[in-house]
């Protein structure tokens, strides 16, 4: 059995010391991915030849002393909704069967410019709609800590690939928690950046006002390094923020003295959360206090409406975005005689049940007679929630919550009850609605499964929650624990 790869920091040190080459790391990642595939189903494809070429080029740069970035020669994986020229991009859907992306997403261009080597594409819930990575045309992804359980979702393939040591770094996308909740379920660290911090050009859209690409890695410092490589304005995404993105890695000083952590009183109640999860989160906050941070209570009075608000807005946007999958320009086409029939049959054959459910809900809430009662009402609730965060951040620098109300659930446990599945995102959707950055990091274990702590920051301030996460990780070992190897 091929050994798991280490963290970015460890691999970079090994490369710098000359103990290993990028070519060897890529071979190890490919072999590890293949060896774990039957057990975990984390990957939907590898790109061995291109990765070998890129690794050889990185090794040549290293020999010449011309390294491009801290990621040069490091294997990474991409969630299968991020476009890469020449790669099959399926979004976990039958409707994109055979589609080969003709262009690179901006994040892929930036990874190339940094010298990172994309070795594999990772599984996801179809079109990133889900919290379990069960709803994929490729089949489910399994949690490395317990293959009977879900790795979370929708970036479950990226999270499982990092947790299982297939790659040290991966990109995911987060619309309502799809980076943070899988990071929590698999015992790794994940960041959803501020909305607009990272270009969405080349990310297949689910809900455009909420979607954001972000890093998954073992620790906060590695997430910061990956964020720094991909963040910043992009003329090809008109919603990318024009503000320059200063590097966050140098901000991770380990010093959090005087930093104020806000605990929303609405989230620190015993209702609807596993008591062991809440206890681990409270203990993590206490550790941050011992590191010098201060703690105060804050209030997010409209947070209880966040799931309702999210599912109205996200599905409305999805129903519009997914109209492009019509069997005309790419992917699956049902053979028939009339154009309307072609649209209907292509879409009915190509989309899975959860995608259809969300398209139907979104179409309903945007339809005549319901728009004001549902869609507009949700947009107004979104304004109230943003105001809650503005008020809370007037009195604190970071807001701490559990990432998810429980540890990883069993595969199949929630798939017959969509509403119960949606409630899995109760702590994460608010950051998307308000556009705020959020980190999830491992803060303990309950019943042998990882527990996630979520740290939210102010708009454009990824550095502060990352600095707190990194300071916590300098003092604790949870992020160093690895899932058991299969016997």
């Amino acid at each position: 059995m091929t050994a798991p790869l280490g963290t970015l920091t460890e691999l970079r040190e090994a490369l710098d010391a000359g103990g290993v080459s990028s070519a060897e790391l890529v071979e190890q990642a490919l072999a590890r991915g293949e060896a774990q595939q039957r057990r975990l189903g984390a990957l939907v494809g590898t790109r061995a030849e291109a990765a070998r070429e890129a690794a050889a080029a990185a090794d040549a740069r290293r020999a010449r002393g011309e390294l491009r970035s801290p990621l040069d020669g490091i294997p990474v994986a991409l969630k299968d909704n991020i476009s890469q020229a020449g790669a099959e991009v399926s979004c976990g859907s039958r409707i994109l069967a055979g589609y080969v992306a003709p262009f690179d997403a901006t994040v892929v261009e930036r990874l190339d410019a940094a010298g990172a080597v994309v070795v594999a594409r990772t599984n996801l819930d179809e079109f990133a709609m889900g919290s379990s990575t069960e709803h994929s045309a490729h089949g489910p992804t399994r949690n490395p800590w317990d293959p009977e359980r879900s790795p979370g979702g929708s970036s479950g393939g990226s999270a499982a690939a990092v947790a299982a040591g297939i790659v040290p770094l991966a990109l995911g996308s987060d619309t309502g928690g799809s980076i943070r909740q899988p990071a929590a379920f698999t015992g790794i660290t994940g960041l959803k950046p501020t909305y607009g911090r990272v270009s969405r050009y080349g990310l297949v859209a689910y809900a455009s006002s909420l979607d954001q690409i972000g890093p998954l890695a073992h620790g906060a410092a590695d997430c910061a390094a990956l964020l720094d490589a991909i963040a910043g304005p992009d003329p090809r995404d008109s919603t990318s923020l024009p503000t320059p993105a200063p590097p966050t890695l140098p901000e991770l000083t380990g010093d959090v003295s005087g930093l104020v952590i806000g605990l929303p009183r609405e989230y620190f109640v015993e209702e609807g959360v596993d008591p062991e999860v809440l206890a681990a989160v409270r203990e993590a906050v206490a550790e941050c206090e011992r590191a010098g941070a201060k703690v105060r209570e804050v209030s997010l009075p409209h947070a209880r409406y966040a799931i309702a608000t999210y599912y109205l807005i996200a599905t409305a946007e999805a129903s519009s975005n997914l109209s492009r999958f019509d069997g005309v320009r790419y992917g699956h086409r049902a053979e028939c005689d009339g154009l309307t029939e072609l649209y209907e049959r292509t879409r009915s054959e190509g989309f899975g049940a959860e995608v259809k459910r969300r398209i139907l809900l979104g179409t309903f809430v945007l339809s005549a007679g319901y728009y004001d009662a549902y869609y507009r009402k949700a947009q107004q609730a979104r304004t109230l929630l943003r105001a809650d965060f503005d008020a809370a951040f007037a009195g604190c620098d970071v807001i701490a919550t559990p990432t998810a109300p429980e540890t990883a659930f069993r595969i199949g446990e929630k798939s017959s009850d969509p509403l119960r599945m949606y409630l899995s995102d109760v702590y994460t959707v608010s950051a998307n609605l308000a556009g705020l950055p959020g980190v999830s990091l491992p803060c303990g274990f309950a019943g042998g499964l990882p527990v996630g702590l979520q740290l939210l920051g102010r708009t454009l301030d990824e550095a502060t929650p990352l600095r707190l996460a990194d300071a916590y990780q300098r003092r604790t070992e949870h992020h160093r624990r690895r899932p058991p190897e299969a016997t």
Binding site: S319, V328, Y330, L342, A381
Partner: protein, 100 residues
């Protein structure tokens, strides 16, 4: 009280260009009804004076210079099409028969 039934789901499906089997429509109606029941809690909020948020950041549409730049070549753009002729996407006849 049921907020959405199979008939309404079939109407919505038509708008969304989806075709559902009767059993599928009934199951969807039950699922959507549960979600609509859950989101009903938003009715508690007094939002008479609250402006809607459609987007958290972009307050204005950014404009760029109108300059010619590289884009996908036509043959690349149609390369993924299930059916294409030259640089055009091919579809079944649009005007034949009655379109609703």
């Amino acid at each position: 009280m049921s907020r959405i039934g199979p008939g309404e789901v079939e109407r919505i499906a038509k708008l969304a260009r989806l075709r559902l089997e009767p059993a599928e429509a009934a199951a969807m109606a039950a699922d959507l009804d549960a979600v609509l029941d859950y989101v009903e809690q938003l009715a508690e909020l007094d939002t008479r004076e609250v402006a809607p948020t459609s987007h958290v950041t972009a307050l204005a549409t950014p404009l760029r210079e109108d300059r010619v730049a590289a884009s996908l070549a036509p043959e690349v753009a149609v390369a993924n099409a299930p059916a294409a002729e030259g640089s055009a996407f091919e579809v079944p006849p649009v005007l034949e028969g009655v379109e609703e």
